[in-house]
Amino acid sequence: MVGVSPEPVTALLKRWRQGDSAALEKLVPLVYSELRRIAARQLRRERPNHTLQPTALVHEVYLKLVDQHRIEWQNRAQFFGIAAQLIRRILVDHVRNRRTAKRGGGTLTVALDDAVSEPARENIDLVKLDDALLSLAAKDEQQSRVVELRFFGGLSIEETAEVLRISPSTVKRDWAAAKAWLYRDMSTRFSP
């Protein structure tokens, strides 16, 4: 998909924020296809280890699709909210595919941001996290969205609150409880 002009996405974000839910249905495919396109290019171009760089990915899509001068921070939060969901899909699929290809080799081939500290680089199995998030969503959809926005989308507490239209204190509480719940779920889950 080439030649998506910034105007539609910016306008759609505004319409969506004003309550037009049809705008979201048009937005998601636009953002998704752009994310996939850039992800594919990253993988082609990058070093032989096929590394995805989520931050660069999202930023590139954002810069391409959204008119920087005509957007408010709430719209931007919403954009990254959508991106969080899509990024989760793309990354988890990516790890799953590579795992299948490399007969179960579980190395995470998603490059985390340079600013990410060493311990955080280790030990988060995205496929397992995705499964755990699905189980969590069955009990509490909102909690799973909070994690998606914050972890996969990099949104702050306030931005997450804005996207989900809940209070920042609710985001904080949901986040803490979800973190505990997911950690417990993932550490007791059978890992293949």
Partner: protein, 641 residues
């Protein structure tokens, strides 16, 4: 677990997560009455939360939204990541910059980050800032705010320090009426930190109540070393110019009030200038007003340079007034010549005026009373596991263990805990073994100080104990040729010195007429036999209290508060721990085994009321570490012997 049960657990988890353990237990008791499943779920989540550490805290996508022209740089810093630090909130703003609360995702601990404002961020200021940060971070002292790290973010230098967020000395002094003793006890720690800095050749130059931070457990930490210097140096003309600036701007009136005469008149400064400022802080806390006042900053400066301080209220003991008068002398050469001299006088004052401070504070309903509870909780459980746990109990007729606070969190063991006489410091051995291994002695300010390593050698160590003044820690160490010697190391760090040869399990006890005596174990010269003996530090007045049969080894001992009996910890012929032994201090008989039987007694001490407390037998001693510290089991003990 149904979605509605999940919701209930989530709500309750959110409610209790940030609470102190005992409050947490109270709320859980209340909310979960008749709902054991709910309680199990919440407790399981709490444990998981602790274990989770920084799990998923660092987002996969680092969104930077600074392109927005509306939000200021300060606002956007919240939620951003500086190296391993995830910035959470603004906790303070000052002339130097903004202070944030942040999470160190590497070590999973909260930190404070001070980001220098743009105005001070020119290259030469930055170099000085970094140098000063380095110097400050070399000051390893429990009463100096620990600097963890320094760095640069988008061209602005920042300093990462431990997070101390219970306010400053200003709020502490206002919170409730404080006795002179409370004030002196709190500030003597600051004085000690300052003395250490001076010995390292560092001046603070901006001692004032706002630079003395108070921890949740009620300790004072001196902050902002070097920053004041930076502030001066970044404008030509140093101190004098700064005074003019401050006066012109009219924003730092407080600082003018704490300046020394030499500072106020632009003279060169030395450690005695900091001493003067310290004196002003102490004076103000005692009197409720500053010693030098005036209608304008200029008047204040004039008073500082020319007028004697206004007299202190008569409620302040005369010796304390004299100490202050000397610290506030106009001519530096008339003051104490070092902070150490001042500290000696302050300590003597506290010591000489009646009962021991830790005990007198029990009745105060304040942070201090919490601390003193720790102090009287002489029952320190020996944990043969990876964490030290201090039990705190109420001052009731029958003390009951009611609260556990995890004090250490190492991958290996922390053992042989011992409290300083004032109850503020903990010493312990860290390493693999639970008894006599090649480990290191550590100390830590209670409750939330950073553990500080005191030793660096490979000798096997055991039984650390504080000296009566709390300034040194003694411990037993293996001799390569066999047997043990007792070594001593200052709590502020330094090279360990041999204290007493052929001595281990040493404790200092009050001898007659205020003379310190020692209680310790020594090899008798017959095989492995070790006896409990008492002597002076020079080993005169040597007296045997208990000698076990043949190759028995009496390793540790503790004198009862009434000085009549000694609890002895001993090993039998085959090297197995025996039950504790209670033996008369006068050595008139070998006494008798006491405590739960059969038992392997590894440590013993006395509660202040004189009922002996004995460590659990070894198989039960492994208290679990980790997140469930608030729900740990109750160690077995004998309430009275």
């Amino acid at each position: 677990m149904t979605p509605s049960e999940h919701q209930a657990a989530k709500e309750l988890f959110g409610k209790v997560l940030e609470l102190e353990p005992h409050l947490r237990a109270l709320i859980l008791d209340d909310a979960c009455a008749g709902r054991p499943r709910l309680r199990d779920e919440v407790e399981s989540l709490l444990v998981a939360y602790q274990k989770a550490g920084t799990f998923i805290d660092v987002p996969l996508v680092a969104v930077t939204m600074s392109s927005d022209g509306v939000s200021t740089p300060e606002e956007t810093m919240v939620g951003r990541t500086l190296g391993p630090y995830h910035v959470e909130a603004i906790i303070g703003e000052g002339g130097m910059g903004v202070v944030y609360r942040a999470l160190d995702t590497k070590l999973n601990r909260p930190v404070a980050i001070k980001v220098l404002s743009d105005a001070l961020a020119d290259p030469s200021a930055r170099r000085r800032f970094e140098r000063e940060a380095q110097v400050a971070s070399s000051l390893n002292h429990p009463h100096i705010l620990t600097v963890h790290d320094a760095g640069e973010f988008e061209g602005r230098p920042y300093l990462v320090t431990e997070l101390v967020d219970a306010g400053t000395f200003v709020e502490w002094a206002r919170a409730e009426p404080r006795s002179w003793r409370q004030i002196v006890e709190l500030l003597v720690g600051v004085a000690d930190g300052l003395a250490t800095a001076h010995q390292a050749g560092i001046l603070h130059r901006d001692i004032k109540p706002a630079n003395i931070l108070i921890t949740k457990s009620g300790y004072a930490k001196l902050a902002d070393f070097g920053l004041a210097k930076l502030c001066e140096d970044s404008t030509p003309g140093a101190a004098h110019t700064r005074t003019e600036m401050a006066t012109r701007a009219g924003t730092v009136v407080g600082t003018v009030g704490y300046m020394s005469p030499e500072q106020a008149s632009g003279q060169p400064l030395d450690a005695r200038s900091d001493m003067f400022s310290f004196g002003v802080v102490l004076y103000e806390a005692l009197a409720g007003r500053r010693p030098f006042t005036g209608a304008s900053d200029l008047d204040v400066l004039h008073a500082v340079v020319h007028r004697p301080p206004e007299p202190l209220p008569v409620e302040v003991p005369r010796p304390l007034r004299m100490v202050l008068e000397r610290a506030l002398e106009k001519d530096p050469s008339d003051r104490f010549q070092s902070m150490r001299d001042l500290i000696v006088d302050l300590r003597r004052l506290v010591r000489q005026s009646g009962e021991a401070p830790a005990v007198s504070a029990v009745t105060h309903r304040s942070n201090r009373s919490r601390r003193s509870k720790v102090a009287i909780a002489a029952l320190v459980v020996l944990a043969a596991a990876s964490a030290l746990v201090v039990s705190r109990f109420r001052e009731t007729a029958e003390p009951r263990l009611r609260e556990y606070t995890q004090l250490t969190n190492f991958a290996d063991s922390a053992t042989s805990p011992t409290l300083s006489p004032d109850g503020r410091m903990l010493a312990f051995i860290r390493g693999e073994s639970a008894f006599n291994g090649p480990e290191q002695i550590y100390i830590k300010l209670l409750l939330d100080g950073e553990p500080v390593r005191l030793t660096h050698d490979n000798l096997n160590k055991q039984s650390p104990k504080f000296s009566p003044d709390g300034a040194r820690v003694t411990y037993g160490a293996d001799k390569p040729a066999g047997g043990w010697d007792t070594w001593v190391v200052p709590v502020l760090g330094g090279k360990p010195q041999l204290f007493l040869a052929n001595a281990s399990g040493l404790t200092s006890i009050e001898g007659g007429g205020g003379q310190p005596r020692l209680l310790f174990s020594e090899l008798t010269g017959r095989g492995h036999q070790m006896a409990i003996v008492s002597s002076t530090e020079s080993r005169t007045e040597h007296r045997t209290i208990y000698t076990p049969p043949e190759n028995g080894m009496a390793h540790r001992s503790s004198l009862s508060p009434d000085r009549k009996q000694v609890l002895v910890v001993e090993m039998g012929l085959n090297g197995a721990w025996l039950a504790c032994r209670l033996t008369p201090f006068d050595g008139s008989s070998p006494g008798k085994p006491v405590g739960p039987a059969p038992a392997q007694c590894t440590d013993a001490t006395w509660s202040p009321r004189g009922s002996g407390c004995i460590s659990p037998p070894i198989p039960a001693a492994g208290l679990t570490s980790g997140a469930s510290a608030s729900r740990m089991g109750r160690p077995s003990r004998s309430p009275s012997v």
